[in-house]
């Protein structure tokens, strides 16, 4: 599969809801960068914030990386495991950066209690930050593959297309981090994600 001809993503913000697997997803990404012989830094969130709250992690790669945090408005990509979380961190991406997001909605409790409403126009509002949107129904794909837990892998497959990391290194890094019994389904999920991104972007 060809890679995107746009600038390869090296500074990536990953956002989601605590418990969705932001840590594993960013570990896979960071290890893949490291095996590509780049310097890597990654910031994580542990502790109280993990209990179902909004979670953000930064992954950075390059010849020499200083800050583990990315400057606002300069990330090459935002990858969001939940739709509203994509919007929450959209300002992190640069103007011509990429927003890869899961279209799955997880309403916070305040929305269920009807004290707040879940934003209706997320896609349009994301467009105001960048025109390069890659929406993916990752949960749906994962369920089709028979394991809802591989939704993040679908998204990783999608974003992999926009990095300079070789597919095989991505795959090694992924399989190292997930249980053996799920290797096959993770592999499939990754490939489906990569294909979906290629279709969305009209690159293939």
């Amino acid at each position: 599969m060809k890679q995107s001809n746009a600038v390869a993503c090296r500074d990536i913000v990953v956002a989601g809801v605590g418990g969705q697997g932001v840590l594993v997803a960013t570990d896979v990404m960071a290890n893949a960068f490291m095996s590509s012989d780049l310097d890597v830094k990654k910031s994580e969130v542990h502790g109280m914030a993990q209990r179902g709250g909004s979670v953000i992690s930064h992954v950075r790669a390059g010849p020499e990386v200083f800050s583990p945090l990315i400057l606002a408005g300069s990330a090459d990509a935002v990858m969001a495991l939940e739709k509203m979380e994509a919007l929450r961190y959209a300002h992190m991406v640069r103007r011509d950066g990429l927003i890869v997001y899961n279209t799955q909605k997880i309403p916070p409790v305040s929305v269920s209690l009807q004290q707040d409403s879940y934003p209706a126009d997320i896609r349009d509002r994301l467009q105001q930050y960048s025109s390069r949107l890659v929406p993916i129904d990752a949960l749906d794909v994962a369920q089709e593959l028979g394991n809802p837990r591989v939704a993040n892998t679908v998204l990783l497959g999608a974003i992999s297309l926009y990095t300079e990391i070789d597919d095989l290194l991505w795959m090694d890094s992924l399989l190292e981090r997930v249980p053996k019994s799920t290797h096959k389904v993770n592999q499939q999920a990754f490939e489906r994600g990569r294909q979906l991104a290629a279709d969305t972007a009209g690159l293939d």
Binding site: G18, V40, E44, H46, M48, R51, L71, S74, H91
Partner: protein
């Protein structure tokens, strides 16, 4: 050795192993917890590792080990040092035998803490040197340096991390393993180790002499081993004194500036900083939280820009550093300028009690009982979040019981019904003394121990009441019923918090009992006890959309539409089958799911 991608905490663990640490003790606390956890996971040889009941005991254990000639380490979060401050302030007089390193992991920005105190102040307060890494590689390398300084200067040494160091991953190449030259063994030395006034009076001047020697070390530490500080010459119009994570932000935001990077946070190399200042046009200090270095640098008569531009509250970020120093001239790159700011109008997503969390049952009962609730620290502090909104105070670990007693004693007969809630780990940490006070001074206080058999908040570490130790091996369990009785509490109850009615009844009974009561809400954390998870519950057609069940604040419950009476549904992936929603539903519209699937 090949390179690895490690968090700061994993790097400290590796560094401790490479420095041949023999004893490590700590109490969990974000962002320090994974240091001990990863030492245990790596199964390093010749290492005794433990979770102590609290940080004071952890440090006391480490001191005992050090006095036995073994390199030892105590690990804690910033507020843990407050708890350990008593032994700290005196071990500094005693000195060490085997190297003694105290890890303080601070939490600027309060990602998981009740305050953001700057523990560099403890270094000055205790007259103890402090090292501060700026990334994972330094975190690994500085541990051995800390041990060497500790043994050479006969002092405990602080190694300070912050959340962004502890929880950021970076590439680490491990160096060689080194060992102490100290012979193991305990030899009595009362003049040095028994701090009665007569002995301590002789030790204090020694501490001051030691500090002078450390100051000399600081002055040469930038170009001589142990190479803790570093001067980086670039453009000389801006010179920045910085260290820790702030160093990375400076490099990111001001790539051309000259930098005096401090790895030894205390004491400062004032002579060297003066000479640096003399060679740059404008001197800046970029440090997170307090103007700790700035104050010393100003006291040395240098003029410097620091906290007049940078915030003293909250974390720094590369963005803040850039705009503070460049002062708007060039405050963002072209790209950044083009981007819009963050959205402000979308619903917040605060952390919540998990689906199936046993704490929910107690807070449901309390939110309905109309009592004051003095709270404590742990996952259960999330009981303050709406819709349960069931906690009225949270100060520090163990405070709930004393606060409840204080309210009762202050207001006497007019005191509102007041209940203290405290987790099992927190009760072992510092709740027992509060309960002793209630019994001793006959307070009419009900204490609810939320016994989920683990220290859940920080990632399920064992504690003396949970039945497993730091190596996840079986350990004796404190029996809370016997403990409470032994302490003189007559009215002791045990209840399953999943049984909402019974929980409410028991709390009421305890509340009405005149005198001290203890209620043990007994159910393991659902994340630990996967076996007790049942098939997800299901909402039937009977659902009227009244939304009453949503007052449980369970993240697995949601409305299926925007309209007012949209029926509720249950997320089958996150529901653990605890059944509390079915218990509160007035229409019997929630039922057990099919277990056969």
């Amino acid at each position: 050795m090949s390179k690895q991608l490690l968090t700061g905490n994993e790097s400290i663990a590796l560094g401790a192993h490479l420095a041949s640490v023999g004893v490590v003790a700590g109490y969990p606390g974000t962002p320090s917890t994974e240091i001990i956890e990863s030492m245990v996971q790596a199964d390093y040889p010749n290492l005794y590792a433990e979770w102590a009941p609290n940080e004071k005991v952890a440090l006391e254990v480490a001191i005992g080990a050090s006095l036995s000639g073994v390199r030892s380490m105590a690990c804690m979060k910033h507020v843990g040092v407050n708890v350990a401050a008593d032994p700290l302030m005196t071990v500094t007089y005693m000195g060490v035998k085997g190297g003694l390193v105290i890890i303080t992991a601070d939490d600027p920005g309060m990602h998981s803490s009740q305050n953001e105190q700057d523990n560099r102040n403890y270094a000055r307060f205790a007259k103890v040197p402090m090292l501060e890494p700026s990334d994972s590689q330094e975190a690994c390398d500085m541990v051995a340096k800390a041990f060497n300084i500790s043994e050479e200067y006969d002092t405990p040494v602080f190694l300070r991390s912050t959340t962004r160091i502890s929880h950021s991953k970076g590439v680490v190449k491990a160096g060689d393993r080194s060992a102490t030259k100290v012979e193991p063994g305990f030899s009595p030395d009362p003049q040095k180790l028994v701090m009665i006034p007569a002995h301590a009076r002789k030790r204090h001047p020694e501490v001051l002499k030691r500090l002078e020697k450390l100051q000399k070390l600081a002055e040469i530490a930038h170009n001589n081993p142990p190479k803790l500080n570093r001067v980086e010459w670039r453009d000389r119009s801006i010179g920045v004194v910085t260290g820790g994570i702030a160093y990375q932000y400076v490099r990111e935001a001001l790539p051309d500036a000259s930098v005096f990077k401090l790895g030894l946070s205390y004491p400062l190399p004032i002579g060297q900083i003066k000479s640096f200042a003399g060679q740059v046009e404008q001197l800046y200090v970029v440090e997170e939280l307090d103007p700790f270095w700035e104050t010393e640098i100003r006291a040395a008569g240098l003029s410097v820009i620091g906290k007049d531009r940078l915030p003293s509250a909250g974390e720094l970020t590369p963005d803040i550093v850039r705009s503070a120093i460049l002062d708007g001239q060039e405050s963002s790159s072209g790209q950044q300028k083009a981007q819009k700011g963050a959205v402000q109008d979308i619903p917040a997503r605060p952390p919540m009690l998990c689906p199936g969390c046993p704490h929910r049952g107690v807070f449901w009962a309390l939110s309905r009982a109309g009592v004051n609730v003095t709270g404590d620290i742990g996952c259960y502090t999330l009981g303050v979040m709406p819709p349960l909104s069931a906690i009225d105070t949270t100060t520090c670990m163990g405070a709930s019981i004393g606060h409840a007693l204080g309210i009762k004693k202050a207001l006497g007969d007019d005191a509102p019904d007041t209940v203290a809630v405290i987790g099992d780990s927190t009760f072992m940490h510092s709740g027992m003394t509060g309960l002793a006070d209630v019994v001793y001074n006959q307070g009419d206080v009900t204490t609810i121990i939320l016994d989920n058999r683990t220290t859940a908040m920080t990632g399920h570490q064992g504690n003396p009441s949970s039945g497993y130790n730091a190596r996840l091996k079986k350990a004796p369990r404190t029996d809370f019923v016997k403990l409470a009785r032994g302490m003189g509490v007559e009215d002791v109850h045990r209840v399953d918090p999943y049984d909402l009615q019974e929980t409410a009844r028991v709390i009421k009974e305890a509340e009405e009992f005149p005198g001290p009561s203890v209620v043990i809400a007994d159910r393991p954390c659902i994340l630990l006890d996967r076996d007790s998870q049942r098939a997800p519950f299901e909402v039937t057609e009977e659902c009227t959309g009244c939304g009453f069940c949503l007052n449980l604040g369970c993240p697995a419950l949601y409305r299926t539409g925007e309209e007012k009476n949209a029926p509720v549904a249950i997320n089958p992936v996150t529901c653990t089958g605890c059944g509390m929603c079915a218990e509160v539903c007035g229409f019997s519209a929630i039922g057990e799911g099919d277990d056969s699937q």
